[in-house]
Homo-oligomer: 160 residues x 3
C-alpha cells in the first residue's frame, strides 16, 4: 500500500535523525511562512534544530560537502515541517514550484549543485510524484549566524 | 484615529530623513516594478537617493552594522515609494509576500538578519497589521555600484 | 512586416553564434522549468551549450566583463529555449516578470548591472513590446561548476 506524505515525511526525519521543536516560528518581525492566492511562501531556512544552528562554516573549507548536504536536508525538512504546521496537512501541497539554495562557500568550492541535490532528493521522496521543482543554487559569501546552507521555497497549494 | 498607510509612510520618511526623486525609474532595459495577476514585483533596490548611492562598502569592514541598517531602510522605503508611484495608493497593497535582502558582507560578518530586521520593521510599521512577510537574507560578495545592501520584494495587490 | 518572436529568437541565436542541444533537461532530481497557474518558472541557468560550460571564472579577475556579458546572453537564451521547448511556442509567454542575475564576482567588481544588461537586452529584443521585466543582480562568491553567471526567470503565460 502506498505510503502517505505524512508517513514519508516522518520516516525521512527518523532515518536522518532530524527533529524540530513543536512550533517553528519566524523572527521577531517576519513570518516563517505565508499562504496567499494558492501559493505558499517559506522564508529562508537555516539548519536549525531546537534553537541551535547545527551545521556552520564555509563549505569546502571549514565544512565538508557531506556536512553541507546534511545542512541542506535539515533546511528543506524544516521548510516541509512549516508547510505541515501552517497548512494542517502535507496533502494541501499541490506541488513544489521553486527552491533557492544558498551555500556559504569557500573561494574554490563549485559543488553547490551537489549540496542542493540532497534537498531535492528529499522533496522527491516526500512529495512523489509531485516533488519536481525548479531550483537555483549559488555560493554566497556569508550566511546569517554562520549557517553553512540556507534554503527558501515556494509551493502551489490546493484550496481547502 | 488610526493613521493611513500614506501618513505612516510619510512619517517614516520624515523621521529617518529619507527622500526620493519625484519619479523613480528602472534601468535602460528593465522595469523598476511590474504588476501582473494580483502580484506586484519590485526590482532589486539599492540605497539610492536622488541619483546617488548613499551607503556603500562591505558590511563588517568598510560599512558599519548601523550604516547597513540605514541602507536597508532606504532600499525598502524606495520599494514602497515605487508601490505608491505605480499603484497610485498604498491601499492597493493586500500584503507583502516576500522580501530578499542581499548584504555585501565581510568574510566574518554573520549579522545579515540584523540588517534585514531594519527593513522588516518598516514594512510592519507602514502596512500594519498586514506587514508580515517571508524573508531570505544572505551575505553576498559584491553588489552593483558597491552598494552595501540590495532588497527586492513581491507583494499581493487588490484588484482596482 | 513585423517579425515573430520565433524569428527574433532564431535571429538572435544566429547573430551571437549560440546554439543548444535538441532537448534541454534539468538535473537528476529537479526540473529545468515548471508551468503552474499561469506562471512559468525557469531554474537557474548557467552558460551551458551542448553539455559544456562555455564561460567560467571570476568576473573582474579571470573572466572579462565582455565574456561575462556573453555568459549572460547564453544563460538567458537557454531560458528562452526552455520556454519554447516546454510551452510549444514563445507566443504563449504573456510577459517576463522577474529575472535574477548572479555574477561570480571578484572582490572589487561592481558592474553586475552591466552584465545583467546583456540578458535584459535580449529579452527586450525577443519579446518586444512585452520584454520588460523586474530584475535583481548580485555578485556571488561561487557558482556551480565555476560558471561566470547564473540566471533564473519567472514569466506569465497565456492559457492555452
Amino acid at each position: 500500500m502506498a505510503q502517505s506524505r505524512e508517513e514519508l515525511f516522518q520516516a525521512t526525519l527518523q532515518s536522518l535523525d532530524i527533529a524540530f521543536e513543536d512550533e517553528i516560528r519566524g523572527g521577531a518581525n517576519y513570518e516563517a511562512a505565508i499562504e496567499d492566492a494558492g501559493q505558499f511562501y517559506v522564508s529562508g531556512m537555516i539548519p536549525r534544530m531546537h534553537g541551535k544552528i547545527v551545521v556552520t562554516g564555509r563549505v569546502g573549507e571549514t565544512c565538508s560537502l557531506q556536512d553541507a548536504r546534511r545542512a541542506a536536508q535539515i533546511c528543506v525538512l524544516r521548510g516541509v515541517a512549516l508547510m505541515r504546521q501552517s497548512l494542517g496537512s502535507l496533502d494541501r501541497i499541490k506541488r513544489i514550484l521553486r527552491v533557492n539554495v544558498y551555500v556559504q562557500s569557500a573561494a574554490e568550492f563549485t559543488q553547490q549543485s551537489e549540496v542542493a541535490d540532497a534537498a531535492s532528493d528529499i522533496l522527491y521522496a516526500v512529495f512523489a510524484p509531485d516533488g519536481g521543482h525548479t531550483r537555483t543554487s549559488v555560493g554566497v559569501y556569508q550566511l546569517p549566524k554562520n549557517a553553512a546552507v540556507e534554503i527558501d521555497m515556494l509551493a502551489a497549494v490546493h484550496d481547502i
